[in-house]
């Protein structure tokens, strides 16, 4: 227990941990503030204003079509060759019907909690996962490269216990940041919806769904933090984790994406990690193959689809953590420390 408390102290004392956490929280705050500033409440005045703008645009369209029809008739009367600019029958030039110009086009952006909030949990998870990854990598990587790990093992010569305790301290620290941040995120967007949008139709089912998505976001943060920690421990340097991510992103994702596209694979996104992260957060991602035709009873072509669900993602995340963390533990046990 003393080692666990010590590692928690060490984690919170590190400047990198503090700065990265602060940076991550500031980015999250900026997202909330940005959303607040770019959204507005839809009151009667705003709707009336939008209707006026729609009317104005309709009138503008009517004036323009009348001008064009007059020009068309003038050209026909003058015998000017029709170069395709006007139809043969000038009466065909008419303004669009009033109802085709929708009032909603002119409404200011508004934040509908029920519709928009679940989507905000994706960037929330992404930002905190990134913070968790680099903090996790640095926490163990700096210990290895500075010789701190060797010092610690002279005091606590149980390698696996030391590594596992460090990981437990990291995850505790991440949870201590991510959990209040999630609560603040919910509260922040509730306020945004209250003052700059709508909180209508937010039923208990909506809360439950949002809560479960938030829970998955927290789990993703912890999983990614663990991966950063384990990769840096495997390479015994922070750069190993960061380099590994760059390699996976450049070679494994961009390169693979291009290759799969060139090879004409049916659902290339099914091989890319971000798809699974998105599926984890959104419960399901439906991929579409536009080079196929599934005919409907109305004779319409629909693309072939392939669903990636959060269950698929959970298997991938579990296997990824098991392989990387298992390797880190095995290497910790086997390799000499010099």
């Amino acid at each position: 227990m003393s080692l666990y408390r010590t590692e928690l102290r060490r984690l919170t004392k590190r400047r990198f941990t503090r700065y990265m956490t602060l940076l991550g929280l500031l980015v999250l705050l900026a997202v909330v503030v940005g959303t607040f500033l770019t959204n507005h409440k839809l009151d009667a005045g705003a709707i009336a204003q939008a209707e006026r703008q729609a009317d104005q645009q309709y009138e503008q369209q009517v004036r323009w079509s009348e001008q064009e029809r007059a020009a068309c008739e003038a050209a026909q009367a003058a015998g000017t060759p029709n170069d395709g600019r006007y139809p043969d029958d000038c009466s065909m030039i008419s303004a669009p019907p009033r109802e085709s110009i929708e009032t909603s086009w002119f409404l200011p952006s508004t934040f509908d909690f029920r519709e928009a909030f679940p989507e905000t949990l994706v960037p929330f998870a992404a930002i905190l996962a990134l913070v968790g990854f680099v903090i996790g990598a640095s926490f163990i990587g700096a210990e290895w490269s500075s010789g701190g790990m060797m010092n610690l093992l002279l005091w606590r010569p149980k390698r696996l216990t030391v590594l596992a305790t460090k990981l437990a301290a990291l995850l505790t620290g991440m949870l201590a940041v991510a959990l209040p941040a999630a609560v603040a995120w919910f509260a922040g967007f509730w306020l945004v919806a209250t003052f700059r949008g709508s909180t209508e139709k937010v039923t208990s089912g909506v809360w439950q769904s949002a809560g479960l998505t938030g829970l998955r976001a927290l789990l993703l943060v912890l999983v990614v933090s663990t991966l950063g920690f384990a990769l840096a421990s495997l390479g015994r340097h922070t750069a190993m984790a960061l380099g590994g991510v760059v390699a996976v992103a450049v070679v494994g994702q961009f390169g693979l994406g291009i290759l799969l596209d060139m090879a004409g694979v049916r659902f290339p996104e099914a091989w890319l990690l971000p798809t699974y992260a998105l599926a984890w957060m959104q419960k399901k991602v439906t991929l579409q193959n536009w080079d196929s035709c599934n005919a409907t009873v109305f004779g319409e072509c629909k693309p072939e689809t392939f669903d990636i669900t959060w269950q698929h993602s959970s298997v991938l995340l579990a296997v990824g953590v098991a392989v990387v963390l298992g390797s880190a533990l095995w290497m910790m046990r086997r390799r000499d420390i010099s």
Partner: protein
Amino acid sequence: MPAVLEIEGLRKTYKSRRRGTRNALDGFNMRVEAGQVHGFLGPNGSGKTTTLRTLLGLIRPDGGRMTILGHEVPDALPVVAGQVGAIVESPQFFPHFTARDTLSLLASAGDVPSNRVDEVLELVGLRERAGERVKTYSLGMKQRLAVASALLKDPKLLILDEPANGLDPGGIREMRTLTRNLAESGMTVVLSSHILGEIQLICDSVTIISLGRRVAFGPVDEVLAQHSSGAVRVRLEAVTDLPAAADALTRSGIRLTGHADHLMLAGVDKPAVVTRLLAEQGLYVSELSPVAVDLESVFLELTATAPVPGQHRQVDQSLKVGGAEQSGATGGGWGA
């Protein structure tokens, strides 16, 4: 006296496709008795640090047996770790923490009372600089901090690898006094160093390692005596008698070297024999003094690492026990 540290037949082999197989430790033995200050000497790459790392569980041995305070290690390391303080090689600490934070975290991890931190900071002379970040420290200050971290547990066995590295002359003297005081208080100290004069001054006993094997061990005086060459300097009342004296001694089987005003004799067990031989020839001795050897000369002789003019010795070129000089793919030292 009971042994605090015992190593028997310790082996560590490094295998590399490119560099072949190298025996960093090749059946190494060592014994340190309680309450001693024990010097652990060896040329660069001879296996000193590998031995200490293996002893402390940082490196997995390929064979041999080790005990600390009567417990087999590495299996029993969790039991004895609280009684062993160690610094291995150059001191390494997280650069952005202060010395106090560094020690406080170690103390906390090892269930050591926090007031011990101030005690050891005082002991190594870092009390007034304890609040500064380690990255601002000089090598000597980091060395002091490393010693402080090793002392934090108030250990029964203290292992110091090059503790005087980077210390100024005053610091070296302080370290010497500290080491002696710790030994007097009952602590056993294993001291690895290349400052052989210091070792000779401080240590009760020594072990000398070369190419992963022990080449000498025992109390310092005994090691010096065993490896003194029996050199004796002889002066006569009349310098003109030196050729006659040299002739008489040579005929008696004594090896000697002539100098302008004296003779240097080698391999003389009993100097009285020389006096008698010369007196029988009517030659009278004015000075007969055994030439004392120091640890440095013994070390250079045993490890065959004395510099030779015009030659550049490589780190693996030292002596293996038995006297055969060795180098090549199966030599020891790499990775030490």
